[in-house]
């Protein structure tokens, strides 16, 4: 297969190792999430190199990796701090590329940062495997040939929530949206609004709130007497923790409006958010990409090796980062080369199973993974400190699929 002996950026050549770059938030609001992602990456490298119990290498299908590294080269890695800022993330990624010679880099925790890194990947000709990023734009209008996303997106959250909301709350509802005033918030609001309006719900109002507002009281009080009976919080991270905590304090959950119990919905959940909001999340609906309580073999295998290594279960962010690393390594093995265009082609349209979320497709047209989505709610009666979210339903992949052209964008060329 030496036809691919072309020179490309950071070609590992005859060296015995190949370097991955893990670019996660180590400081700032998402530092804890970043730390969990880093753990997952380290675990993935271990497993690829044939150390430890092998993790998902035992369940993944089809599998080309042999547990001896990638194409016979041991994987080593470097880390960096994105600070959850686009500039810092790109600087850190450039360091990995220019100084450390990484062949692939990966990371996430915010859509803006992910998109910034993804476009850098295209410029530099290095594959970027997105970690946690939920905006439709990542594989929509800002998609890139060199970027791939395993995580689900706002559209899929909305599509998955629809039937559950209908079952739990009925068709006659008035929803009030509070939306973080930036691109992720907008796509989230749009997606969930499409879903709820599709159910026949009315939209009482959709209000933008400044990022990092801290105190949301001035946005919550208008909800009280707006006639709405559902509050949808299109917030993430600290904003969501604060707005939810305060909404509950304003007595929204004890309210009766239009003869119905007032409800709050949080489209995107994460474990850290659940921890930060404490008891306030009990019974509140939302979606996640993955949860450690899933019982399929892949999830069990991952929870086992992560839990034994670190003493606690992995978060959804850890899961997606782990899977992404394996998928990339596997694609190189499949392609028989590290030459990015070939690796990309191997990933495009790749269909696999046994990594949680059931049968999964890496769609070629937009580099978005399609798989089952979890609708969850805050656990009313947790049995342990990790038991925060209860899976209400595993919404099948077919229900969240959409047309690849829906969000526009262009992947760009293979060769740069």
């Amino acid at each position: 297969r030496n036809v691919f002996a072309q020179d490309f950026r950071n070609n590992p050549g005859d060296g015995g190792t190949v370097t991955f770059g893990f670019n996660v938030p180590q400081t700032g609001a998402y530092a804890d999430e970043g730390a969990d992602e880093l753990r997952a990456y380290q675990l993935a490298v271990k497993h690829i190199n044939g150390e430890g119990d092998g993790g998902l290498l035992n369940t993944m299908q089809p599998l080309s990796l042999k547990g001896d590294g990638v194409l016979g080269k041991k994987v080593v890695y470097v880390t960096g701090d994105t600070q959850t800022k686009s500039d810092a993330a790109r600087a850190s990624a450039k360091r990995m590329i220019e100084k450390d010679g990484v062949i692939m880099y990966s990371g996430g925790s915010s859509s803006g940062v992910a998109i910034a890194q993804q476009s850098l990947a295209q410029e530099m000709g290095i594959v970027f495997m997105n970690g946690l990023t939920h905006s439709n734009d990542t594989t929509g209008k800002d998609k890139r040939r060199y970027g791939f996303r395993h995580f689900f997106n706002a559209y899929m959250s909305g599509a998955a929530l629809g039937p559950v909301l209908e079952a739990e709350m009925g068709k006659e509802r008035r929803a009030y949206h509070l939306t973080a005033d930036y691109t992720w918030g907008w796509t989230q609001e749009e997606s969930i609004k499409n879903t709820t309006e599709g159910l026949g719900w009315q939209t009482a109002n959709a209000v933008k709130t400044p990022l990092g507002a801290g105190d949301f009281s001035q946005y919550i009080t208008p909800v009280l007497n707006s006639g709405a009976d559902v509050l949808i919080l299109n917030h993430y991270g600290k904003d969501m923790i604060n707005s939810l905590t305060q909404a509950v304090q304003f007595g929204l959950r004890d309210k009766q409006v239009n003869g119905k119990d007032f409800q709050i919905v949080v489209p995107l959940y994460s474990r850290l958010m659940a921890q930060g909001a404490g008891a306030n999340i009990k019974g509140i609906f939302g979606t996640t990409n993955w949860n450690w309580s899933l019982q399929d073999a892949g999830s069990q295998a991952f929870v086992k090796s992560f839990g034994q290594e670190y003493g606690f279960p992995p978060s959804q962010a850890a899961h997606t980062c782990y899977v992404q690393t394996l998928l990339y390594a596997n694609a190189c093995q499949m392609a028989g080369t590290f030459y990015p265009p070939e690796v990309i082609k191997a990933l495009e349209g790749f269909e696999f199973d046994g990594m949680g979320n059931g049968k999964t497709l890496y769609r070629a047209e937009d580099h978005q993974c399609f798989k089952d989505v979890l609708v969850v709610k805050g656990n009313e009666n947790p049995s342990s400190q990790f038991d925060l979210l209860e899976v209400v339903q595993e919404v099948p992949r077919s229900q969240v699929e959409y047309d690849a052209g829906l969000f526009g964008g262009e992947l760009g060329p293979y060769e740069v």
Binding site: D181, G214, T221, Q249, D254, D387
Partner: protein, 338 residues
């Protein structure tokens, strides 16, 4: 009408919080002349007093969840509950009010140590150097908290009894649509009490005059037999306590994290300066003014006319006030003007 009443309440409540946070800063900044970028960190440390107290009160017996085999998962029952039953739960429930009692001596100590150990050397240095050292200190404190408590916010709920909302409308005869969380009302009252206490201490005793004089001219005050250094330490300790209390009281509204101080730092500087340097009354007035304007600017009716106004209102008001009134609302001439 009720939206208006509610936004007014929001404004007052925010104002109380802003004033309380800015009060400590104006003591240090406006009175001692030290640009204290670590003020936010003091606020944050106060909040983590509450977290620590809660952590201590909820030290738990851990009952292993046997269904999980890959790692250790527990159901936790606090010792206080196993020992004292109901009473124990109540104590835990009241951890935030209890933290206030703890925070006063702790923050006083922190303030004194900080002043004696560090700030003291910087009274005569340039503002630039004060900024650098206090910013460095703020980062260090922040990172220490992060290393111990993680980066994620930590829920610290208000006591059950005041967790819900009060039906203010009914009391005032405005109908039942005006409800407001108890804890926020308590915060407002608490802010009022603390502000009044600080005011009377500085206005009705000679302490305030001496400190003001000392800031203007340390040497001469020393010549008059006054140990100004000791008084500066006390002011600093007092400011730390006020900042800390503001932090403790804020925890049920905003689950604390290590970065919360930085988030409030700029705001508190704006409040202090808009109020006028060296003026306690100014800081309080500016706090309420900005709080109320911010609340009204966030109303949908206003936002539909001026999109994004709620994001910039505080800064816009600051600019207008500083251009109309050169020294802020109640500032004195010559303080920190060069």
């Amino acid at each position: 009408m009720d939206t208006f009443a509610l936004q007014l309440l929001n404004g007052l409540d925010k104002g109380g919080a802003y004033a309380l946070i800015a009060l400590g800063l104006t003591l240090i900044f406006g009175t001692l002349g030290v640009v204290n970028f670590a003020h936010g960190a003091l606020f944050m440390l106060g909040a983590f007093c509450a977290v620590t107290v809660q952590k201590i009160l909820t030290i738990s017996v851990k009952v292993k969840d046997e269904s999980i085999t890959f790692f250790e998962a527990y159901k936790e029952v606090p010792y206080l509950e196993t020992w004292f039953g109901e009473t124990g739960s109540v104590i835990i429930d009241y951890s935030v009010p209890i933290s206030i009692l703890v925070a006063i001596p702790v923050m006083l100590l922190i303030g004194l140590v900080m002043e004696r150990g560090l700030i003291q050397r910087f009274y005569k240095r340039t503002h630039a150097e004060q900024i650098l050292v206090t910013f460095g200190l703020a980062i260090v404190l922040q990172e220490l908290v992060k290393a111990n408590f993680g980066a994620n916010p930590i829920p610290t709920p208000a006591p059950e009894a005041v967790a819900g909302s009060a039906n203010i409308g009914e009391w005032l005869g405005l109908g039942s649509t005006v409800v407001y969380p108890w804890w926020r009302l308590i915060y407002l009252a608490f802010a009022g009490v603390v502000i009044a206490a600080v005011f009377s201490f500085l206005q009705f005793t000679t302490f305030g005059m001496v400190v003001r004089a000392g800031m203007q001219d340390r040497e001469t005050v020393g010549l008059l037999g006054i140990d100004i250094q000791r008084r500066f330490s006390i002011v600093f300790g007092l400011a730390a306590v006020v900042a800390g209390l503001a932090g403790v009281m804020y925890t049920p509204i905003l689950p604390p994290d290590y970065h919360m101080g930085m988030d409030f730092l700029v705001l508190s500087f704006v409040v202090v300066v808009v109020g006028g340097m060296g003026s306690l009354g100014g800081a309080v007035a500016a706090g309420f003014l900005l709080g109320i304007l911010q609340s009204f600017a966030s109303m949908n009716e206003v936002k539909s006319i001026l999109p994004g106004i709620d994001q910039i209102i505080i800064y816009l008001v600051a600019v207008v006030i500083l251009l109309v009134r050169p020294r802020g609302l109640l500032g004195r001439k010559g303080v920190m003007e060069s």
